[in-house]
Amino acid sequence: MTAVAAQRLIMAAVTLLGVAIIVFVLLRVVPGDPIAMMISPGATPADIAALRAHYGLDTSLPAQFFVWLKDILHGDFGTSISLHRNVLGIMAERLPATLELAFASLVFAALLGGAVAVFGTLVSDWTAAPLIDTVNGLFLAVPDFIWAFALVLLFGVFLPVLPLSGRIDPGLDERFVTPFYLLESLATLRFAAAADVLRHMVMPMLALGLPLASIITRVLKESLREAMVQDYVLLARLKGLSRLRLVLQEALRNAVAPTLALTGVQFTFLIGGTVIVERIFAYPGIGNMAVDAVINRDLPLIQGLTLVFGALFVVVNMIVDLLVVATNPRLRNG
C-alpha cells in the first residue's frame, strides 16, 4: 500500500517536472522581448541590462531553469512583470476564487447528474423514460463554452436577474479576511454577502457543471441499470423493499465506484475549463488571470499559474485514487 502510494508520488513529481520543463522551454522561444514592454522611454542600455538581470534573463537557458526550479522549491515564484508583485502572493489571492468555483461546479454536477440518473432508474419502465437519455445525449454534445454564452443570452438579455461578470458586487461594502469569499461569508453568517457571491457564481458554475452533470448522468445511469439486474437486488426486492430503497441502498453503492473514477478525470477537465469560463464571466480566478498573463507575456506569472494547474491535476488524480480505494470494500482491506 505504502509502496503504491510512494510510486504515485514519484509519478506525480515527474509529471510536474515535465510540465515545468515544457512551459519553460516554450516561453523561452517566445518572439518578443518581455523587457521591451517595461522600459520607460528614457531608459539607457544600462537600465535595460539591470532589468534583465533583475528578472534573471541574462544567463543561459539551463542555468535560468535550474535557478527558477530552485527558487520555486523555496517557494519563490518570482515577480510578475505586468503586475509588479510577488507571483506566489497573487496566485494565493486568486486561486481560492477558482477553487470555490470548481468545487461548487463539481457539487452541482454530482447532485444534478446523480439525481437525474437515480430518477431515470426509478422510472425506467415508464413509456417516456427513453426521453431522458435522448435529452441527456443532446446535452452531452454541448461544451462549457457554448453553455456560457447561452447563459449570457438567457440571463443577460431575456431574464436579466443575474450579474454577468465579477465575483462580488463592488458596491457591496464587504471586507474579507481570507480570499475564500463564499466559505468565509458562510462561516461568519454574512448571508447577504454569501448570496451575492453565489449569484455571481451561478452562471460560470452552470457552464462548467452542466457538461459534467450530463456525463455523470450517463455513466451512473448505465452502472445503475447493470446493478439493478443483479441477483442481490432481486433478493432485496423479494424482501419487500421499495423501489427507491432498491435503487439507493442496493444499486447505488455498487454503481458509484465506476462513476467516481470517471468523475475525477472529468473534474480535471472542468478545472481546465475554468480558463475560458472565467474569462467569459470576468471572474477573478487563476484561469482568467492566466489568459491575461499570456496576452501580457508575463513569463513568471505564466510559469507559476501553469504549475498550479499542473499541481491541481496531480492532486485531484491522487484524491480520486484514494476515494476509489476507500469506497470499495474489496480494495479497502486488501
Binding site: 509519478m11 515527474v14 509529471t15 510536474l16 515535465g18 510540465v19 515544457i22 512551459v23 516554450l26 516561453l27 522561444v29 517566445v30 518572439p31 443532446l138 452531452l140 454534445a141 454541448v142 461544451p143 463554452f145 457554448i146 454564452f149 447561452a150 449570457v152 443570452l153 443577460g156 438579455v157 431575456f158 454577468l164 480535471t268 478545472i271 481546465g272 475549463g273 475554468t274 480558463v275 475560458i276 474569462r279 467569459i280 484561469g287 492566466a290 489568459v291 499570456v294 496576452i295 507575456r297 505564466i302 499559474l305 501553469t306 494547474f309 499542473g310 491535476f313 496531480v314
Partner: protein, 299 residues
Amino acid sequence: MDDARGGWPMSEVAPHWISESLRACIRDPKVAAGGGFILFLLILALGAPDFAPKDPLEQDLILGVTPPPGFAGAEPGYLLGTDDLGRDVLSRLIWGSRVALTVAFVAATLAAALGATLGLLAGWYRGWVDATISRLVEIWMAFPPVLLSILLVAVVGPGVGSVIGAIAIIDWTRFCRVIRAETMGQAKTDYVTAARAIGFSPMRILVREILPNVMPVLIALISLEMGIAVIVEAILSFVGLSVSSDVPTWGGMIAQGRQILHQGWWVLAAPLVALFLTVLAFNLLGEGLRRSLDPVMRR
C-alpha cells in the same frame, strides 16, 4: 462475443467490408443527420461568395444593429440582422464557416495522425516506448488545454495555421490513449499471432493488420475531434488570437456580440447557434460512425 472482434484476414474481406460499412453508415439516422448537416455546411463554406447575400466586410453605419425580420426596426434583406458596424450577420456566418471547417478538418486529421502513430507504437512495443509515451500523455493532460492552446498561439503568433498546429499538438493525446488500448487488445488476437508467426515485420502488421481494425474507432474519434476543434477555434477567436479581425469567424462574432449584447443579442445568438449545431452534428456523426463501422457492435 467480444473476443471475436475482427478475427478475419483483411485482404479477402476488405472490399466487401467497406461497401457494407458504407451502406450501414448511411442507414444510421445519427450519421444521416450529422453527416447531412456537415455536408450542407461544407457546400455553404465552399460556395460562400455565391451563397452569402452581402459582402461580409461591407460596413453600413446607418444600418448598424438592425434586428432580424419579425422584430421592430428590421430591414429587408438582412435575414439575421446586422452588427454594430452594419455588417450582415448571415453573410459573416456563412463566411465564418470557412475558417471553422478548415480548422476542423485539418486539425483533427493532424491530431489523429500524430496520436494514432504514437498510440500504435506504445500499444505494440510496450516496455520503455509505452512508458515514455504514456508519461508524455500524462504530462500533456496536466495542462489545461485552453491555456496551452492560448500559450502556443501566443508563442507562434496568431493565424489559422497556428490554431491548427496548436490543436494538433494538444489533442493528440485523445487519440493516443484510445488507440494504445485498442492496439494492445488487437496484439493479443489470433490473426496477429499468426502474422507474427509467418514472420511479417512489425511495421507491416501494424499497418496491414492492426490499423484497419482500429480504423472504426479512429474515424469516430476524428469526427468528435472535429467538433472539439471548431470550439477551440472559436475560443481562440474569442480571446483574439485566431485570425486577423477582417476575416469573419464565429468566435470573433461571439466576442463582438458579447460587447454589444444589450443592443443586439442576435449578433451573439447567431454564431452561437451555428457553433452548437456544428458541434452537435460532429458528435452525432462520430457516435453513429462508431456504432455502424464496428463490425462486432453492428447487430
